[in-house]
Symmetry: D2
Subunit: 254 residues, 4 copies
Amino acid sequence: MGKTIDLNSDMGEAFGAYRLGQDRELMNYVTSANIACGFHAGDPRVMEETVALAREKGVGVGAHPGFPDLVGFGRREMRLSEAELRSDLIYQMAALDGFCRTVGMKLQHVKLHGALYNMAVSDENLAQAVVRAVRDYDRDLILVASPGSAMIKAGEKLGLPVANEVFADRAYNPDGTLVSRRVPGAVLHDPAEVAGRALEMVREGWVKAVDGSRLPLKADTICVHGDTPGAADLARQIRRLLEGNGVRVRRLRP
Amino acid sequence: MGKTIDLNSDMGEAFGAYRLGQDRELMNYVTSANIACGFHAGDPRVMEETVALAREKGVGVGAHPGFPDLVGFGRREMRLSEAELRSDLIYQMAALDGFCRTVGMKLQHVKLHGALYNMAVSDENLAQAVVRAVRDYDRDLILVASPGSAMIKAGEKLGLPVANEVFADRAYNPDGTLVSRRVPGAVLHDPAEVAGRALEMVREGWVKAVDGSRLPLKADTICVHGDTPGAADLARQIRRLLEGNGVRVRRLRP
Amino acid sequence: MGKTIDLNSDMGEAFGAYRLGQDRELMNYVTSANIACGFHAGDPRVMEETVALAREKGVGVGAHPGFPDLVGFGRREMRLSEAELRSDLIYQMAALDGFCRTVGMKLQHVKLHGALYNMAVSDENLAQAVVRAVRDYDRDLILVASPGSAMIKAGEKLGLPVANEVFADRAYNPDGTLVSRRVPGAVLHDPAEVAGRALEMVREGWVKAVDGSRLPLKADTICVHGDTPGAADLARQIRRLLEGNGVRVRRLRP
Amino acid sequence: MGKTIDLNSDMGEAFGAYRLGQDRELMNYVTSANIACGFHAGDPRVMEETVALAREKGVGVGAHPGFPDLVGFGRREMRLSEAELRSDLIYQMAALDGFCRTVGMKLQHVKLHGALYNMAVSDENLAQAVVRAVRDYDRDLILVASPGSAMIKAGEKLGLPVANEVFADRAYNPDGTLVSRRVPGAVLHDPAEVAGRALEMVREGWVKAVDGSRLPLKADTICVHGDTPGAADLARQIRRLLEGNGVRVRRLRP
């Protein structure tokens, strides 16, 4: 019987006069969209348009909340209190949910952005605070995070649905963490190679780590970066290879 | 048989380290709270705390959206496109609604803030754009606006519930518009006089205009300003006088 | 004896992760840069880098202040009090001036951005408020504005140096105002035609208006739009044609 | 011969409709004002008014730059790159300097705000980045910081004038660091006691630490908190006691 996988991408990262990403093209190939919520990127108009586009293409909509740091694009660590973080998350999820509601959709998932995502990978307290905020807002939302991360553990512990996210274009350490972007070879650029890794991850359940060892990796969704040149083409190739090999590509929750 | 009236006040206008208003005291006397949504005032933490306070006191929660102009407190006119305004409104209503949802409440009403309110009093296109945005988000929301305004007319035309709002502490022109704040005597400060006018408005259905004439005025809710010294005391006196005269004070939608 | 002209372009309009314009290429052809100051566009890092680039290329630096409306890119009208506008202008000019100071440059000019520019073209009170703010900050700054505008008049009246700005890629009405962008043909796209008009404006002192009449037009600087595809190429062609015909292209103040 | 000391206080921390602090009263007693620059607090209008007030009272003006985090009032740690921090600092110093310039004043000093101050107390790289940015902007500016901090050391190393700041209303550990606000007794509230400690610090050159030991402490300026009730009265008492005991209270640079 065939395997199933979701393809997700960050979208709606434009802001006012500023364009970013290739949402329109990417929406043809991915099945879930992580939409920025106005704090690190996105503005209300962009959010509404991106939700409309997702609906048109049948793509699942997820909130992509980040730190309140537009100029830093949410990529700079900030030390928020748990209460501040909670309210910031609910605000962002709900604002995006409002645009879903006006077009008859439901929010499908939540995926943290940038520095917040990275901090919550390993910080258990932060991860649990995130899970509580998401759960208190809507206990059906799926938390998308790296396999083995503090977020996945917190989600499982506190009863929130989770989806394990893998990166086909990133090199992995033997312990399952990503090789730092500062290390040469950390990011893979050859579309065929990336697509091949995606297929391997889905079909075999493991990926070859940088030391050549086989790293078992649970994969519910593959992240496709949308801010690189050729992102749409890469997404197309990944999807084609997956489907050509009998993998069913569909959103996390139909 | 007794009359019924709602008392509303703007709340949740603090921001970060900045305090404003007397929410905690006012919540004892008013029945509906117009809560700022983060654009002209309010931040996510303040919003969550204000909703929690409203729930504790049994006060109805309304969105109080404004222009994206924190430094101007939403009091400066801005020319937004209809699409921009629509998205800004949905974003703000939904964000506040999210905090209601986490405590099991439903958003009761919407009241525009500041310059946006003032512009929509007389601008029909703007008023209709507002009504469409509110209705598309949630057709059960009650639009609070001045009797006879373009907003009330647009609400009635487009099928959105409306509530007529009167100001017991403001002088009225014979045509039903408010006397400009720049005119001496435009704002009444004596609590007993203000309370008396509130009772008159509710029981008689009219108010004495600046020229001495009787101005018929439909009143579903009375606005109590929360940012003046003595606001809570004024609200207390108004409520006491109303209830002492057989008027039932309760929120727009129980 | 040869004519002299300045070529100016809006620059430094990136923000955080968002890129905009072709500053690096344009700096090779224009002689004055209007640099955004962080309100409608630009952030401190972008400002510092853009000033450094201007210095490297010998380009004159001007402040390009706008309304505090990043999401609207300063293109939406806002009603500020004169005091608010004054402080907003001084803040923006001085912030940019700081980056000039650290590399041993002096601010050369000021050109308003977007809706603020458009409002000050015809609003005398606004124009005089702008001139007073600029003059109080630095009475040597050159105000760049459309010939015949309220800004030029206010500058001349209040003793601030002015420079008349013309647009070689825009159609002119016989009264000297620009044809609205909503009218077909309002913006010229053919580089050769635009360059030809630029030369005509500089050498002849007039431009052919939409009705075919000759419109006398004082030109101290020609605006080259930087946010259109091919902007750098257009600037190159304009400069080449001007210099090929004996016009000296140099910054407003050497 | 008499001792000399400066009294400094954070000012200009209002924002738009939000008031904070007691600037007008405090300006009668302190000799240096650390004025917020629009990132964590303050807006251009507030800055211009606060500079005007300082000039009227003969108070020295310093920049009080903070993180770009208005909602967090600059009290939350943020991880900026050195280049980002540098540009943010120059932007803020220069913007405030612009208001000084329009009234014929010169910026006297710089004191970091909130989390940025706290981080730069012990982080040498951060402290040196701060000093380089200040020095590149204006090598005459005085950096105000805690005695023994990485900032004072960086200032001395890189040739920037420094002023040692002490806190008369805070308990000190024997190693010269402040007792954490979370510890009972960390903040002293009795005006007479605080004034007495101020006198002791200035006249004797030491302060009694929490363990009773005498802590030698170099004091060029005493910080008077402006955001507590009774701040102006406290400043008045400190100044009176100091002057009554022959200490000359005057700004860092006359």
